[in-house]
Symmetry: C2
Subunit: 190 residues, 2 copies
């Protein structure tokens, strides 16, 4: 992509909460953050080195067992400052969502195209599954009332992801329903 190094701020942001290893950071993308960003360890490890060279983070070696060395990274004052700057600067770009399914839809010219129904049905299944997964996450992490104001950011993005998937599923279901209506109307006109 080459969009202005968001991963850098994600790393700084995560280290602002706890000290973490590169491995921990990579894992974070399989959890909540994965809803809104992806990164592999092959991208993370080199960036950690660059951030350390730039003086934004440092690490301490920690032994796990006898031989296995972990690099536990933590935020420096300079890193904290850059994180804060990023958080405070206005966010004015609304990025395009890069949704492959919607892209395909765009090229379906005719509302009666026979492949439309299986496509929509499959997507509905996928998004409903995702929705169910997110709702499970929500109950697992925020069933206690107190925690909602504690890890507020966490809570908000989960809520947002849930509403997004709900909306997506509704749109798909509604489009499928209208297809059925049109098909019935067409039969009546025979």
């Amino acid at each position: 992509m080459a969009q202005k190094n968001k991963l850098k701020y994600i790393i700084l942001g995560l280290l602002g909460e706890h000290d973490l290893t590169g491995y921990d950071i990579a894992k974070a993308f399989t959890a909540d953050i994965g809803e809104f960003w992806n990164a592999n360890h092959s991208q993370i490890y080199p960036l950690l080195k660059r951030l350390e060279t730039a003086g934004l983070i440092t690490h301490q070696l920690q032994l796990s067992g006898e031989k296995l060395e972990k690099k536990v990274y933590s935020l420096t004052a300079a890193g904290q400052a850059q994180l804060s700057d990023w958080l405070h600067e206005p966010t004015t770009e609304l990025t395009a969502s890069k949704d492959e399914f919607v892209l395909k839809l765009y090229f379906v010219q005719n509302a009666d195209d026979p492949m439309l129904q299986p496509m929509l049905t499959e997507q509905l299944r996928l998004h409903q599954a995702k929705l169910a997964h997110l709702q499970k996450q929500m109950t697992r992490k925020f069933s206690a009332v107190a925690s909602k104001t504690d890890n507020y950011g966490h809570f908000l993005i989960l809520q947002h992801a849930i509403e997004r998937e709900q909306g997506y599923s509704d749109w798909l279901a509604q489009t499928l329903a209208q297809k059925t209506l049109r098909a019935a109307a067409a039969r009546n006109h025979l």
Copy 2:
């Protein structure tokens, strides 16, 4: 990104509708497709050459005025086949949305953080502006009933984008409202 060459299929898809120049294709990303994908001309022109070498598209030179040569590209049978393959193959990856604002929110730990309100307010303004723009597009292009089944894909993705922005705005407004409620409750407890 290096995700599997979606731009290729967008180009094939667009050429499946009309013959177009590279310039026209670049312009398409400022219109509807821009809701779901971005691409600059610097990425498009080289790819057009590669697609032509691969035999998926061809071009004819056309003169605009006396000297200005346009390359008008069109889809070959091979290109049509690959486009159709892509459209028919299942779409199972639900890509993360890479939303910078949500990323920032994630790192706001405390529900009473003073920067939360200005952040939310600004985003609400941005998304409402986008929503208004999309709704205008919708009336402009699909006010006639007939056209809805004609350029069905067009219509669907616009509808989806509108519902997405509506949902996003609702979420922001709701979060702002809850903030206000909490603030009032806090005052009563003094």
